[in-house]
Amino acid sequence: MSVELFVFWMLALVAVASAVLVISAKNPVHSVLFLILCFFNAAGLFVLIGAEFLAMVLVVVYVGAVAVLFMFVVMMLDINFVRLREGFLNYLPIGGLVGLVLLAELVLVGASWALKEPAIAAAPATAELDNTRALGRVLYTEHFLVFQIAGFVLLVSIIGAIALTLRERVGVKRQDIARQVHRRPAETLVLERVEPGKGV
């Protein structure tokens, strides 16, 4: 067994096992931690096939942001996850059936994949161009429009978040920079000579 194959199996098995533990762990905090483990292993798999940029993004975005957000949600919201899971198994027959149908479809798909060459091959990778640079080149040229639309989607999410959650509250002490700048030491600062052993 080559080293690569060994590493692949190790990463893949840990990824699958931790994915199973994400949904079976009783404690939601453990679930999130297993999710992070799963992300790290998936990142390892990406490194293995030479997609180092995707691996980095996975760690930075999913582990660094999404998983931490989940952690906040789990810890700060008062949700009873045990009660949420009650009656979970009632859906097993129908859920299992749907899962089986999807699995059968995927097997069919996989089988036909093995038999046929893709109609149009993907662009070949060039040796002197690393992943990040290659992605950057297509992102800002070929996929420029899509990239811009993604920017607008983010803009919408900002507007939406503000529109749905920002409330004007009265009696809040806000920072007024102009007032801060215009304050002079003489108005606010009093020098006191404090005798030893006495208070002010």
């Binding site: 798909v109 994949w113 639309i149 607008f152 749905l164």
Partner: protein, 488 residues
Amino acid sequence: MTATLDLAPLLPELLLAAATLGLIVLGAIRERRDGAAIVTPLAVAALVVAAAAALALDKTPTVLLGGHFRFDAFAAILKALVLLATAASLLLIASYQEDERIDRFEFPLLALCSALGMSLMVSAESLLGLYMALELQSLPLYVMAAFQRDQLRSTEAGLKYFVLGALASGMLLYGCSLVYGFTGTLSFARLAEAFGPGAAGGMPIGAVVGLVFVIAGLAFKLAAVPFHMWTPDVYEGAPTSVTAFLAAAPKLAALGLALRVLMGPFADWAAQWQQVIVLVSAASMVLGALAGLVQTNIKRLLAYSGIANVGFALVGVAAGTAEGVEAALVYMLIYLVMTLGTFGIVLTMRRQGTYVETIAELAGLSQRRPLLAAAIAVFMFSLAGIPPLAGFFGKYFVFLAAVKAGLVWLAILGVLASVVAAYYYLRIVKLVYFDPAAEPFDELPAPGLRLVTTLSAAFVLGFVVIPGPVFAAAKLAAAALVPAALGR
């Protein structure tokens, strides 16, 4: 190497994007004083200008920006319609927004972003462009549904719409990934090559599975059975102004996108998708007609009416011919106008300062407000498909296209469904004209609402006299879409 990039075909989108960014700044500055009052008219103006720009551009088919964007007569005409419908919706709902105190300046901004998404949708020329445009169109709609954030019903509607919409996006994306995996390309032109008559061995089964997933995702956006479950709840829970917005332009854009996908890269494989569309269409017509019978809330009734009407439009799509496309477009345009008009009436149902939503509240309206009652009668007769109103012609041409394409049973089912649906439309007319009068509605000083309702009624009544321009536009759009696909 010097490459010149001609961005002229992108003019409507550029205008909308610039208007959105400019109005964000303006709205943020004027928020306290008159944010919405100043942003809404400017947004309407931007939409109208962008629609005019779309129509004025040179309509020779062009593909640009890495093959993600296509501009042709189909795109131009649908863009103009979608943008004008968005502008009309904004005018229509202004008074309601004000009364319900949700007239914040973010609303027209979200509408502009959604319109930008719709405009990109009907120009999509790759699976990636399709997906991103669809997201840009849907995301503002989820926020809008939850816009009345202090009302439980509204937030519930927003959350429900968001979660189910995310599910639909997931299905669509999964389908796209399968199609991409089996063909190695995202662009519609190269997909058409891969699936074209020259392709050996037919369509790979994985790509067929992918196509079915893509259709499922699009059916969700169209609110077609069996992906309609969100519609009645979201329509009822969201503020009426948002419901009016949801029911109009986004539906037309989704139909345009479905036509782009089905008649573009997959045109040569009509046999693969036709059965799915026939099934979805038949189920939508039947369920929309039957479930509408028992509704007491007018917004729920209009939700089921919308489901049935999408079913009728899909009859034209199922035909898979240029004539079918033309009929579907005409149908959708007429439906759009009727919906705007009908919501114009729902938005006037205010009694002693609160808006009412049950159908029974309309009883005896003809005695106090004869003009409003006449408008209701016009829209309801048209929705029921009674000649000589516009709704009749819409239905007539989709059924004609289906019969010509050999789908006789589907046309018969459609006629039966529309007879059943006629019951609930005509029941409203009976309530308005023959039942004892309830308390009168408030007089609303709402010029935008009156304008849109009057124009809609005029269109529905006048269509029989001057149907030419609508058919000519639909023919032009269909001609731009169909030979582009079948000629390859």
